[in-house]
């Protein structure tokens, strides 16, 4: 049984109503969460740097982001005369919309059991449904697609500004985002191999059996580490924030943006942090899985989910407070020469391990064959590189 049980026997008005409700709730939740994320980050950073941080608006400065948001509305919206009018206006929309859309695939709650078909559903108005806005069969691919499209937002913003800092910032951003997206995709493949599905709901359902079945453990910790690093880079968060390195580029791609358009970029950025944390929890930490104690059973998974996400939000802020920014060449080296080969290797290893387990092959023979294959591959690779070197030398001698 796949897909949201809400749609299994026809779609009527109540189904559409529930769907709309889910969209509105997820949307509102995400907005509020983003507001508090900004506050959380500022407060935490200031604690780590021995400052006080926001403390005027509301208790503990909780309403600081709200105040900032209101202020954005009253600010003049400048469009530099060199800017491309249409694209300059379009870019913030692309960023904001993709940020919202990728959250739709995250299952935020529901009791997941090992019983197939009845898993992970909650009862709203007498209908069984998943606690996630959408469960497309291509789930995780949607995330990758959205993060690809988000690059357009950044690239177009920088290009259309008709100014130098934004252009450099956006080109850097695009190069960085696409480099790490390859690694991101490869590390997700490990999870997909284990789950045998792309749907986020089914991925969570596969991890319902306790910590030992979390993909963090079953995939070896490597894909998670690759994913965490790649996600940090993908989000342009420190230590990979070369995109908006203030000391070099002023504000990066959004230098020329002001007022509410800037607010949209800002919103998208923090929303993406929340979404990425949620995706990480979904992929590697069992999503809303966790022990259920008493009272409302549907309530606990959501609590577990949120606390896991909070841990990752803390980690992202922690990164920012702790790690110095990388140099651009180091950034590219890490992406292409470490993360991608590592995740490719691990991908093959995981698939071999899975196949061996399911087909009951002799493990010595399997791994011996794998090692032989690796050795053969390595030898071929080195031979090819040597041959290339010789040809290159010969060419340069001839010339």
């Amino acid at each position: 049984m796949t897909g949201d049980p809400l749609f299994h026997d026809g779609v009527d008005l109540v189904d559409i109503g529930i769907m709309g409700l889910k969209v509105v709730v997820a949307f509102g939740f995400l907005l509020v969460a983003t507001m508090f994320m900004v506050w959380f980050e500022r407060k935490l950073i200031s604690d780590m740097q021995n400052r006080i941080g926001p403390n005027v608006a509301g208790p503990w400065g909780l309403l600081q982001t709200f105040a900032d948001g209101v202020k954005f509305f009253f600010k003049e919206d400048l469009r530099p005369e060199n800017a491309d009018p249409l694209v300059f206006r379009l870019a913030p929309y692309i960023s904001a919309v993709t940020a919202f859309l990728s959250f739709a695939i995250v299952p935020v709650g529901g009791v997941f059991k090992d019983v197939p078909g009845t898993t992970g559903t909650v009862n709203i108005f007498g209908r069984e449904t998943f606690l996630q806005v959408a469960d497309p069969p291509i789930g995780i691919l949607l995330l990758l697609a959205m993060s690809s499209i988000a690059v357009y937002g950044i690239m177009l913003a920088g290009w259309s500004s008709g100014s130098k800092y934004p252009l450099i910032g956006s080109v850097r951003a695009s190069a960085q985002a696409i480099s790490y997206e390859a690694a991101l995709g490869m590390s997700v493949v490990a999870v997909v191999i284990l789950a045998g599905t792309l749907s986020t709901h089914d991925i969570v359902a596969h991890q319902a059996g306790g910590i030992n079945t979390w993909f963090l453990v079953t995939s070896g910790v490597i894909p998670f580490i690759v994913f965490l690093i790649a996600a940090t880079a993908e989000l342009n968060r420190p230590p990979f924030d070369l995109v908006e390195a203030e000391q070099e580029l002023v504000g990066g791609f959004h230098t020329e943006y002001s007022s509410i358009r800037f607010a949209l970029f800002f919103l998208a950025e923090f929303m993406n942090v929340i979404t990425m944390s949620a995706i990480m929890v979904t992929l590697f930490f069992g999503g809303p899985a966790g022990p259920i104690f008493f009272g409302l059973t549907w309530f606990w998974p959501t609590i577990w989910f949120m606390s896991k996400v909070m841990v990752f939000l803390f980690i992202f802020v922690w990164f920012r407070a702790t790690l110095p920014r990388l140099r651009y060449d180091q950034l590219m080296d890490l992406g292409w020469k470490v993360l991608i080969p590592l995740s490719l290797f691990w991908l093959m290893f995981i698939s071999l391990k899975e196949l061996r387990a399911s087909n009951d092959w002799n493990w010595i023979a399997t791994y011996a064959a794998a090692a032989g294959g690796l050795l053969l591959g390595g030898t071929l690779l080195i031979t090819a590189l040597r041959a290339g070197d010789r040809a290159y030398q010969k060419d340069s001698e001839d010339a």
Partner: protein
């Protein structure tokens, strides 16, 4: 939602553009040279490499979901595929394309 925010903001905010406000920001001094700065060609190489790996992902994902079905045959196929890909990556590496100068 984004559209709504922009509309509200349009009503609320002041609009007094002046010549000074509209020129591109360049740390307070007047912009030097043309407004469309040139970017370096080395970014382009990474873009091409990315296309390669992204297309690869297109092939890997379907295989990953149906790992059990294709079994050993699929595994060996994929190993060969990835080997060719890694060969390309190493070629680029040795060629100095990945070196950021």
């Amino acid at each position: 939602m984004a559209g709504g925010m922009l509309t509200i903001a349009r009503i609320l905010r002041p609009q007094r553009p002046t010549r000074q406000k509209l020129i591109a920001y360049e740390s307070g001094v007047d912009p030097v040279g043309g407004e469309w700065a040139q970017s370096q060609i080395r970014y382009y190489v990474f873009a091409v490499l990315f296309v390669l790996f992204d297309v690869e992902a297109v092939f890997i994902f379907p295989w990953a979901t149906r790992l059990e079905v294709y079994g050993l045959f699929g595994l060996v196929e994929m190993a060969i595929f990835i080997f060719i890909l890694v060969l390309g990556l190493f070629y680029a590496w040795r060629k100095g394309v990945l070196r950021w100068v």
